[in-house]
Amino acid sequence: MRPLLVRLVEDYWGILLLLFAWQAWVVVNSFNPIVMPTPTAVLGDLVSHPGVYLGNVGITLSIAVFGLVAGMLVGTGLAVAAWFSPIASGLLNPLTVLFSSVPVVALIPVIARLLGYDTSTVLAIVVIITFFPSFVFASSGLRQPPPGAEDLFRVLGASRLDLLRRLALPAAMPNLAIAFKLAAAHAILAAMVAEFLMGTTGLGYLFAKTKSDFQTEQAFGASLVATVISASAFLAAGWVEKKVRERYS
């Protein structure tokens, strides 16, 4: 076991360096806190006004989690449907490849116009953003069972449903885990951008409101909270991906 301090420096030297550079930059230039607060001031605001953050974190986090789960279910479900029907997959595949390379943020204003400026629209945007990676990765995973396995299943008289349940879906698990990792970090950030643009509720709204009220410390506090949640989601999803890969391949 490495000593705690060594471990801390080894794992977090980059982040510590970044925070130190931020603090030094603000102090050296003696910026007005309205323009650019120091990280210690932002932390101070977080500690002294936890109530402001907690409510908004709850809203944004639940939208992100709910949207992530719904988007992955819809994406995997459609991928399975496309797996059953070659015609459906032929029709859908190029479209989803097209859509997955579309800058979704550019679509937020259009979706907001269509669905109205409220919280359910934020949820819809998160669902759409997580849908594409899960559909693309699940589709390609379902089609990559270990070589020869499909023939073996056929010979043993497995039905199409057995084939899906016992071969294709397990074979698609590592790919789904990658999609989960990609989507997990983005879900909360996408929710925040949507809230920022539409001015509804949540962390993005808190950011927009405090920014225009010149409460810059709180705006950065909101961003800091979002960063920590999103980074933890990414690292946790990476751990899940590793476990899934060990289990299914």
């Binding site: 980059g14 032929g90 550019a106 950011f207």
Partner: protein
Amino acid sequence: MKQTLLGALGIALFLALWEVVGRTQILGISWPPLSDVLAELTDERRRPLFLRALGATLESTALGYLWGTGAGLILATVAHLLPALRRGSDRLAAVLNSVPSIALGPIFLVLLTRESTPAAVSSIHVFFIVFVSVSSGLQRATPAHRDLFAVLGADRIKRFGRLELPAALPSLVSGLRLAWPAALIGAIIGEWFGAPRGIGILIINAMQNFQIVLLWCAVLLAVGASLFFYGLLTLLERAAYARFG
């Protein structure tokens, strides 16, 4: 062949559906028919506006793409050659990628100028994707290859330049392909923080003034810019896999 036909049919059906939904106004006035959007997009009088916006956004995106690729390559290489730094640099990259883009805007606004903020936000998106793909690519060389290089007396630098770097190329090119749409998103968000022109500005203005057709035009421009270069990079990726994969 059959797949291509089905795919083309799928896209045609989608476009037809778009037109029908727009004509019949099932989804209200916010969904204009495709033909109206295309007419506006090709309108002579609008052309200077569109070209200026597209030019500005593409310039920021390209700059951010270059900066991000450079930074990602450098950090991944350093972390690869100095393993003690690896865990820390992974975490730094993950955290940078987790900073909300809307928070990067105000930071770069102070750090840089209004004009270069879009490129800077875009470069952070690109940096992460390139860093991750290069880091994993550099580990693709097999132990057998490493042993061979050791037996033949290659030093660390030679092994890196002749074995690990070429082995990482396909992975890098895949990263470059995925990074383009992300770069474009970064540039568009960066433009919301006071850039003089660009597609992001066009989108925000059209949204706030309820110019629905113009809003769709701006979105189509962004989509077109994304797909065109994404397609080019996909071709490059195929060539890289054919040669180094």
